[in-house]
């Protein structure tokens, strides 16, 4: 049996103890992030511990299970609720407000593409295949600061198993540190979390190589993810320390079934984390905290 047939089964799972609440806290590093661009919270310190995509260059790998948000290792598990707040970097900072967040399952990654290797085939080694799902979306995460707007394509196997597919030209962006989205849809703007694919393709099973045509001056990982839930946190949490003392803040709480149709499945072995688009400005030195509740049938 898989999933829930009705509301009663869904709520009975909680009564029967088939539920888990876990809590996470991620503190963004001090390097400035780009307004309206994405960051990868998994890269930053906290609980779970930071995930730097530090493994053999260009070789497919899974992130450590312990570096994903903890959930029990059970089958047919679903997201029941996610609740987050974002703590400001200082008493006066407001730049971490208005974040679009997406809970993702990190499926597989390829680390340490060199964006200065112009004209080189950076061939990957697919030592593992996708551990969950048939295919996924690709995010591009900086593993260092970068100094220039580069250009690259990547060659991949699409959702139907067709190899040799080539992406459109992708522009990188100048970032101040690792953990930030390294790609922009066009030079200098147009941020989007997922890399564009060839016409007609919806997702990616594996990546074969990366080719830079313009140097970007940094290192980056390509990560295949499965998006689970997108939500929004509106206001930063902070307390002023001078003048009329005032407190600010809000929480975002999203219930499956009530706020969205159904409940996203969290597959056994999932490495959960959050990517975020900071619309208010830099997310540097801000902290995202949250709870995540799952149920299983």
């Amino acid at each position: 049996m898989s999933g829930f047939r009705n509301i009663k089964q869904y709520t009975d799972a909680t009564t029967d103890g088939k539920t888990w609440t876990t809590q996470f806290r991620k503190a963004v590093g001090s390097a400035a992030t780009i307004t309206s661009s994405y960051i990868d919270y998994s890269y930053f310190a906290g609980s779970p511990p930071a995930n730097f995509y530090a493994s053999t260059p260009l070789e497919s790998a899974e992130i450590d299970l312990a570096r994903g948000i903890y959930v029990p290792q059970v089958d047919t598990q679903y997201l029941q609720n996610i609740m987050v707040m974002t703590n400001a970097a200082s008493a006066t900072s407001t730049t971490n407000q208005r974040q679009d967040l997406t809970l993702v399952d990190y499926l597989m990654y390829y680390p340490f593409f060199d964006s200065d290797a112009v004209g080189e085939d950076q061939d990957t080694s697919n030592t593992i295949t996708l551990p969950r799902y048939n295919s996924g979306q690709v995010i591009c995460i900086a593993q260092s600061a970068s100094s220039a707007i580069g250009q690259f394509t990547f060659t991949y196997t699409n959702q139907d198993g067709v190899s040799g597919k080539v992406s459109p030209v992708i522009f990188t962006q100048i970032v101040a540190g690792g953990g930030q989205s390294a790609n922009a849809e066009i030079s200098g703007g147009g941020f989007h979390p997922y890399l564009p694919l060839a016409v007609g393709d919806s997702s990616v099973k594996s990546i074969e190589r990366v080719n830079f045509t313009v140097a970007g001056g940094g290192l980056m990982a390509l990560v295949i993810v499965h998006p689970l839930k997108t939500f929004h946190v509106a206001q930063e949490c902070r307390r002023t320390t001078s003048g009329n003392l005032e407190s600010y803040g809000s929480a975002a709480s999203v219930d499956s079934v009530i706020h969205t149709a159904g409940a996203p499945e969290i597959k056994q072995g999932a490495r959960l984390g959050i990517i975020a688009k900071g619309n208010g400005g830099s997310l540097a030195s801000s902290t995202l905290i949250g709870t995540l509740t799952t149920v299983w049938s």
């Binding site: 103890g17 876990t22 307390r239």
Partner: protein, 294 residues
Amino acid sequence: MGFTSQDDLIAQITNNGKYGTTICQKTLPAAGTAGAWTDLGNAAGIPVAATYGAADLTFTSTDDTWSEGALYNGGNVDPATKHFLSAGASCVAAAGAPWFIMAVDDVGYVKLSGTNVSTTGTKTVTMTALGAGARYPNGEGLRMYMSALGALGANAPTCIVNYLDTAGNAGATTTFTSTASATSGSLINTGAAANKYNPFLPLAAGDTGVSDIVSVVWSGTAHASGTVILHLVKPLWTIPVPATGLYNKVDFVNALPSFPKIPDGANIRFIMFQTGATTTGGTVFVDYDWAYGG
């Protein structure tokens, strides 16, 4: 049991008086740890600070008549059932925000002190397994966490708790790394580091609860001194508190699952997550409404 409709809920409250509000107020006895959870059981306030006075390594059941202090929730109502309608919380402290406040029903605890903390090895617990007649039959839905009672000594050993699951089968938690010199009330299995679990100890795969605590196993370098409390609780709900002085209210009538149940005898207590280190003397206020029908 429960409410047959929204009309029934309104009638039970407005005509039959089957309704009440409970408040809790706590003052933190020590500074918290950034990124960790704190148990408010030994904080002064309403109810009074618990001292966890039982003998070591013996499971002590608690309920709403616990001699060390418990919140009054209107007493037993069987065959009716009592349910939360809403809850609110606020915190006032110079540092520590934002916070999460989680309500738990404290089913019982095991105290470890003296050489049961300052030496490693297996510490066998005496407990009668929870059966079908327990507040949570066979321990269904119960979770565990471990807190410091008073300041804990240096060193950070690893720890596993062995237990029996709801079917009576042996299980063991994931190994966690304790917290050196934890402040009073801190949950020593929580924090922002490897091998920390927030806020509950992970159970074996597929387990849905704990019917019996069998032993606590310390490894590595033992804590230099201190007392810890292993809690067995049922998680109830969580409230986010974004900043000092802000009061946040959560509705359980229109939630899913809705109307969390307050079993007869529930000993409702609170644990708190702090993003920063909450200041000593910080205050926590929680209130909740409940009603019963049937």
